[in-house]
């Protein structure tokens, strides 16, 4: 099985929602990975669409870079609507 690479599976549970990571599986190629994913991760109608991605193809942020990568966003509260004070009675804003 070392010859069967690992694939990450993403499932869209219903129309209107994003694909969400469901887990992984082994398959010899993309076509089989897709079918295995359908069989394994949508046995109970959990999905309407499936993506498979070779695990080796995923580039992830490293935990070492946790701070420099994500901390800058933490001091920009003005990006969030709750940052702003609104006068009483204003609507549709």
């Amino acid at each position: 099985m070392s010859d069967w690479p690992l694939w990450e599976v993403f499932v869209r549970s219903r129309r209107g929602l994003s694909h969400v990571h469901a887990g992984s599986l082994h398959a010899p190629d993309a076509a089989m990975a897709l079918r295995n994913a359908r069989d394994l991760y949508t046995r109970r109608q959990e999905g309407v669409s499936v993506w498979v991605v070779p695990s080796a193809e995923i580039t992830a942020s490293s935990p070492d870079e946790r701070d420099p990568f994500f901390e800058p966003a933490a001091d920009k509260p003005y990006r969030h609507p709750t940052f702003y004070e609104l006068p009483d009675g204003v609507k549709n804003l």
Binding site: L25, R35, N36, D39, L40, R43
Partner: protein, 234 residues
């Protein structure tokens, strides 16, 4: 000979054979895939048999000679290639047949309309494996060819007209089946077997309740518990 029994027994018996794979599949992902197919077929069988009577009465209380499935589906699993050859021959047939029934106005149109989607997936599964085994290693190629050869003689029976399915043009069905199977087998670097497909042999077949020896043992196992407790509910 009722069409519901013919189609229902096909699905019931093939489902049973696929169920025998549980715990023996070549890889875990395939355990899941084979069980999916078996469950689809069992679901179809239950609907079809219920059109004819009590599903359990029919599945567990009939004698071997009263079963109407084609001999192809009762053939023992053999190795994985043998099972895939059986799947390829049967699922291509079943998809083409259900497509025609679904398009018609007969009593089986609603069932066929639902089942044809399941069966299309079974066919897809069988085709993918035929390609991989045929065009995989020398060993897999040889095994797949052997499976196709061994089961070839049971394919002719698929195209003997089933009473009550007037909407089906059986000769056309046979032609469509052959070209579809030939295409996949060719792409898999395999060859369609030569020799008789069994369609010319007239001593009877599964549709007349004439089965092969392994079938008797299969239903003995299937029916034993149910028959040991007459009148019990489960």
């Amino acid at each position: 000979m009722s069409a519901a029994l013919c189609l229902g027994d096909d699905a019931l018996v093939l489902s049973h054979r696929l169920g025998e794979w549980a715990g023996h599949a070549p890889v875990l992902e395939e355990e899941v895939a084979l069980a999916n197919i078996a469950l689809d077929l069992l679901g179809q069988a239950r609907v079809l048999l219920s059109l004819e009577g009590d599903e359990d009465e029919l599945a567990f209380r009939r004698e071997e000679r009263a079963f109407r499935n084609v001999q192809l589906v009762e053939q023992p699993n053999g190795d994985f290639a043998h099972t895939m050859a059986r799947q390829l021959y049967f699922s291509v047939y079943q998809e083409l047949l259900y497509e025609r029934l679904a398009a018609g106005e007969g009593p089986y149109a609603p069932l066929a309309g639902k089942a044809v989607k399941e069966v299309a997936y079974h066919r897809d599964h069988a085709e993918h494996w035929t390609l991989r085994l045929g065009d995989g290693t020398a060993e897999s190629h040889e095994r797949m060819q052997r499976g196709l050869d061994a089961l070839w003689r049971y394919t002719g029976e698929l195209f003997r007209p089933v009473e009550g399915l007037a909407e089906v043009d059986w000769a056309a069905l046979h032609g469509a089946w052959r070209s579809r199977v030939e295409d996949v087998v060719g792409r898999a670097t395999l060859t369609l077997p030569e020799g008789s497909d069994g369609s010319g042999w007239s001593a009877g077949g599964g549709r007349q309740g004439v089965h092969t020896e392994p079938f008797g043992r299969m239903i003995a196992e299937m029916q034993h518990l149910h028959r040991s407790h007459p009148g019990a509910t489960w």
